[in-house]
Assembly symmetry: C2
DNA sequence: CACAAATTATACTGGACAGTAGATTTTAGC
DNA sequence: GCTAAAATCTACTGTCCAGTATAATTTGTG
């Protein structure tokens, strides 16, 4: 295969043009397994300390196998960073569909994002810690996604202000702190720790809401 | 010299035993200049991507020179991590001397720590990002310092509760979020950005105080 | 100004690791 | 079950860099 960038099997790799449903899914599955193994190792040992041979070994494959699914080491990292933030972005997008008023929407969305961050803690940590190892293009895309995250969060807060639920003047100035607090969760909460997931999420949401005067 | 760990000139390095005031200071000065150069490069490019030759070049010295003042590369990093947190710890210690009630003490201390973090942003970022590159001993000491930081912050919050200024039941559960928020400052605030230092500090302190119901 | 001790530099080594060329095996259509 | 293509592996290379042995230089002292 030797995917130069995209792994999309160029439309007519299989004999039956555009037909094969299975193969693309298999490719996607393999990619996600590689990312799982890589993120776990990056999380525990760091990006530079993790060799491609280690990733390959964990999957019982060899290094050139990885190169069939990713351009190079930093392409693996870029995919992890991408995954690390996209889900949160999707959750923020979905906030418009939450029933109730703007405060309900904010609270529900914060909780949803907090849950995602707890569940994907390894991706988030790797994302924050290793972003600088990305090449220019990947780094810029990732930064843009992060800016998008902050922007949408700020809009949610602004809506609470506009609808009159929040009277604190500098409420929008609090939204970056909310983003920071959420991003901080994985540093503070280790999976398998004593505190249950729900408690962490609830506490984080509380902290965020109080920042804008909503108990 | 070839400092094996401590650089203390073993008491009678100079001819006049225990007399020389200058030399130890010169050694300390050189060490701090090395740390400055190293932290700046680690901050901008990451620990692994920074070679000892780069650090030496920036100071117009050579690699073996660095080995006269630090055991190895990770010893340099360990010193940066140490510095990155010690000042904050000192500020937390000094909180007992702040006049006024416990709320005044908390507010003043949070502001002081926020200022330190803003001023030492490179150290803080490197500390958070590269801690895993430390060897076991240095990593444990650093983790202990961080735990100490969280503990003292929690005590300050608890005092506000005991003196009756804070009525929120889960106030102490908020203190880790305060620590996280403060640690987040350098990711959000880049020096030379549009927002002035004071504004950032004030906003951060506000956010923290509101978490425990103090506007 | 000689001469020991300290400081700093030159020049090298050894190992690790990302990335690759080419061989081999598996898969799937006929 | 034959054959072409896709998937995967074996074996290698070139580079980079932490760390070091040893040489040169500076500094302080009598």
């Amino acid at each position: 295969m030797n995917a130069s960038t995209a792994k999309k099997p160029s439309a007519k790799t299989s004999s039956r043009l555009g037909a094969g449903r299975l193969k693309p899914d298999v490719v996607a599955f393999k990619r996600s397994r590689i990312l799982e193994a890589a993120s776990s190792l990056f999380y525990m040992q760091g990006y530079e300390a993790t060799t491609l041979d280690m990733i390959a070994e964990r999957l019982h494959v060899t290094k050139p196998f990885l190169y069939s699914y990713f351009r190079n080491k930093s392409d693996i990292l870029a995919s992890i960073c991408e995954l690390g933030i996209r889900e949160s972005l999707v959750a923020l997008d979905a906030s418009a569909d939450v029933p109730g008023n703007s405060v309900d929407r904010l609270r529900t969305t914060l909780a949803k994002v907090a849950e995602i961050i707890v569940d994907r803690h390894a991706y988030i940590i790797v994302y924050q810690r290793e972003m600088m190892n990305l090449d220019r293009v990947d780094a810029q895309r990732t930064l843009r996604q992060r800016a998008e995250f902050d922007l949408r969060l700020a809009r949610l807060v602004a809506a609470c202000q506009e609808e009159g639920f929040v009277t604190i003047e500098d409420a929008t100035a609090m939204s970056p702190w909310m983003g920071g607090l959420l991003s901080w969760i994985p540093s503070y909460y280790r999976p398998g720790g004593k505190r249950p997931r729900e408690e962490i999420v609830e506490s984080a949401v509380h902290a965020c809401m109080r920042m804008i005067g909503l108990g």
